[in-house]
């Protein structure tokens, strides 16, 4: 409860963060409930192609006469699922490795950190592109694993350095004397202390995963099937949207959907940051 009231106090004073949080909420609602109210039909009517915005189609229509807005709403869910799943994997692996190696130390720490350094150095996006084209999957879970292939490494390093400083604190010493298990030590004693940092990283990991997954669909590396924003832009570009002004709404609506969501996440994460870091509020 303290947390929520703190969060509300910060949001009330920081308009950007408030709007960001509200937008994230709206996108979440659209992802959960959107497909119940809106559907993208199979009927195609070329005579309805590239209509200007109207009450029936607030963002106009695409080359097949289907409403752009309804496609964007339906496309929210697959994007959010992959983003959140990938962030869960990234954060879970990063935090588990960071806390364990930071707390245990020794040879295990050295070995695992060398491996982490390797993942940190290999350029993530080219590796993701190679893996996605090799595996060529439509399964969101597999896609999420591919997207988090290198993303956990940076988090693991950051969490490790925090765990190392926690190791010498009194409450850890006390727990050690009581002989708590390693699982308890990591999960109950250390984890709550890095919680805030993890929460913010979770949001940023979602934006990173959305960036990469939309990119994969855009370039046509992930299979083009179903509805999502990356596929919409890909199709619009393939149909020559750059060379005609008719299709401007079709091309720019999914782009706007992505930009608004990404910006909202970043502004909202900044508000979380100042809830957790009272020092930031003073500055």
């Amino acid at each position: 409860m303290r947390f929520l009231s703190d969060l509300w106090r910060i949001l009330r004073h920081d308009k950007g963060a408030l709007i960001g949080g509200a937008i994230v909420l709206i996108y979440c609602l659209a992802a959960i409930f959107g497909p119940m109210f809106v559907e993208v039909g199979n009927e195609q009517d070329a005579s309805q192609a590239y209509l200007a915005p109207s009450w029936q189609h607030p963002l106009g229509t695409d080359s097949l006469g289907q409403g752009v807005l309804s496609q964007i709403i339906v496309g929210t869910r697959p994007i959010m699922i992959v983003g959140v799943l990938s962030a869960v994997i990234t954060v879970f692996v990063g935090v588990a490795i960071g806390l364990l190696t930071g707390y245990v130390g020794g040879v295990a720490d050295t070995v695992i950190m060398r491996i982490t350094d390797i993942f940190l150095t290999i350029p993530g996006l080219p590796l993701i592109i190679v893996l996605a084209s090799v595996i060529n999957t439509t399964n969101p879970v597999v896609l999420a694993f591919i997207l988090s292939i290198t993303a956990w490494a940076g988090l693991a390093r950051a969490i490790r350095s925090q765990a190392m400083s926690l190791r010498s604190r009194e409450f850890v010493e006390a727990a050690k004397l009581q002989g708590v298990s390693l699982g308890n030590m990591v999960g109950r004693q250390l984890l709550p202390n890095v919680g805030p940092y993890v929460a913010i990283h979770f949001l940023l990991a979602i934006t990173g995963a959305i960036y990469a997954s939309v990119g994969l669909f855009l370039l046509g590396i992930a299979p083009i099937s179903g509805n999502n924003w990356g596929i919409m832009i890909n199709l619009a570009m393939a149909q020559g949207a750059l060379y005609t002004t008719d299709s401007a709404f079709y091309l720019f609506s999914p782009m706007a959907a992505i930009v608004i969501l990404q910006v909202a996440f970043v502004f909202f994460s900044r508000a979380l940051d100042s809830v957790f870091n009272p020092r930031l509020r003073v500055q």
Binding site: G16, D117, I118, L120, T121, I122, P123, G124, L125, P126, I129, V130, S133, V134, N136, L147, T150, A151, G154, A158, S161, Q162, M164, S165, Y197, I200, H201, L204, A205, T207, G208, A209, Y211, A212, V214, G215, L218, L219, G220, I221, M237, L242, Y243, T245, A248, L251, M255, I258, V259, Q262, V263, F265, V266, F267, S269, D273, N277, R279, L280, Q283
Partner: protein, 355 residues
């Protein structure tokens, strides 16, 4: 110092070895085995003897399909060491390395120039934001910069293409230089190269300078509150001396560290930018080869992108002791590595989290 360099060198070679091995095993384990697919395709065409088919596959993947796996692997790695990464399926007349050798300079030019420009602009804007904290100006700039750093670079590329090459035909929509110039060291060619690189560079600068500015602001603000700055003020040093030698230099340190990490990210982002601007860099060929199922070229691009990133990281690592003398001193380095990272600064990574 020598052991510092040797360690970095060993680590770099290890990563290159791992990536080369990875590319070998990925081609073999890929669903629908591309080597078998190529073999079937060559049989279908007919007119080739069994030996010729084997030779063609050997040329493309630099792997003899009949040999045991460990022998194939050793051959592949040995080939990679000598700069033989096979031949592209789509154009067997040339080699993967030759295609990449032509493409790589373009990518390195665009990545290096946009990295330098966005770093310089970012540092300047960030320092200004720190100097005028809490002013209207700083708030407005913070908003703009946060906004831009959250926008994916490929969307900026599409928007630039739409406005500047399609609606207003101010810039060329593709290529590294015009068709009417002869490559070489002459004026028209250099101007054309510059002209064609404006949009790709602009797209990545627009989306990446914000990260640098925010990082620099955070770094400078935390230095401004440090004891040694107050001590310098108390000693009555000039403002200029304080900003340059105390605040400037110390707040630059974490930025230089970020520089090494962001190189990989810039190379990754260049894949999108090169594809959209049809700029004949390594990322462009990588995406083309994915589309054409040309796996030997795709893996070659991946290996070479990684090698370029590692070499650039190595360069940054070697330059780092110039900025921070502590780093070449093992005892000081161990102390610095064990210190917990400042959570305020690491929350928003410059250049994005998917590096």
């Amino acid at each position: 110092m020598v052991s510092y360099i040797l360690k970095r060198l060993a680590m770099s070679l290890l990563i290159i070895y791992i990536v080369v091995s990875l590319s070998f095993f990925m081609i073999r384990l890929m669903p629908g085995n591309p080597m078998a697919a190529l073999e079937a395709q060559l049989r279908m065409q007919g007119g080739l003897s069994e030996v010729e088919i084997q030779q063609r596959i050997n040329a493309v993947y630099s792997v003899t399909p009949d040999a045991p796996v460990w022998e194939q692997y050793l051959r592949y790695v040995w080939g990679a060491v000598r700069g033989d990464l096979g031949r592209p399926i789509t154009n067997p007349g040339t080699t993967v390395v030759a295609v990449i050798a032509e493409a790589l300079p373009w990518t390195i030019m665009v990545v290096a120039v946009s990295l330098i420009i966005s770093f310089v602009i970012g540092i300047a804007v960030g320092a200004m934001m720190a100097a005028f904290q809490n002013s209207r100006f700083s708030q407005a700039v913070t908003f703009v910069v946060s906004f831009l750093s959250a926008v994916p670079s490929y969307l900026v590329a599409i928007a630039l293409l739409y406005v500047l090459t399609s609606v207003y035909q101010v810039f060329p929509s593709g290529g590294a230089y015009g068709v009417d110039v002869t490559p070489g060291f002459n004026g028209p060619y250099l101007v054309s190269v510059l002209y064609h690189s404006v949009l790709p560079i602009a797209a990545s600068v627009i989306t990446s300078f914000g990260g640098w500015a925010l990082g620099m602001k955070g770094s400078a603000v935390s230095v401004l509150g440090a004891e040694y700055v107050r001590a310098a003020e108390a000693r009555g040093l000039s403002d200029r001396r304080i900003t340059q030698s105390y605040v400037g230099r110390n707040s630059m340190l974490p930025m230089v560290t970020q520089l090494a990490l962001s190189v990989g990210f810039m190379f990754g982002g260049s894949v999108f930018i090169e594809t959209y601007f049809q700029y004949p860099g390594i990322g462009f060929y990588m995406i083309q080869s994915v589309g054409q199922r040309d796996y030997s070229l795709m893996m070659g691009c991946f290996v070479l992108i990684t090698v370029s990133v590692i070499i650039t990281n190595l360069l940054v690592d070697l330059l780092y002791p110039l900025v921070d003398p502590r780093i070449a001193n093992p005892a000081a380095r161990a102390r610095a590595a064990d210190q917990p990272a400042d959570p305020d600064q690491e929350v928003l990574p410059a250049g994005g989290s998917m590096a």
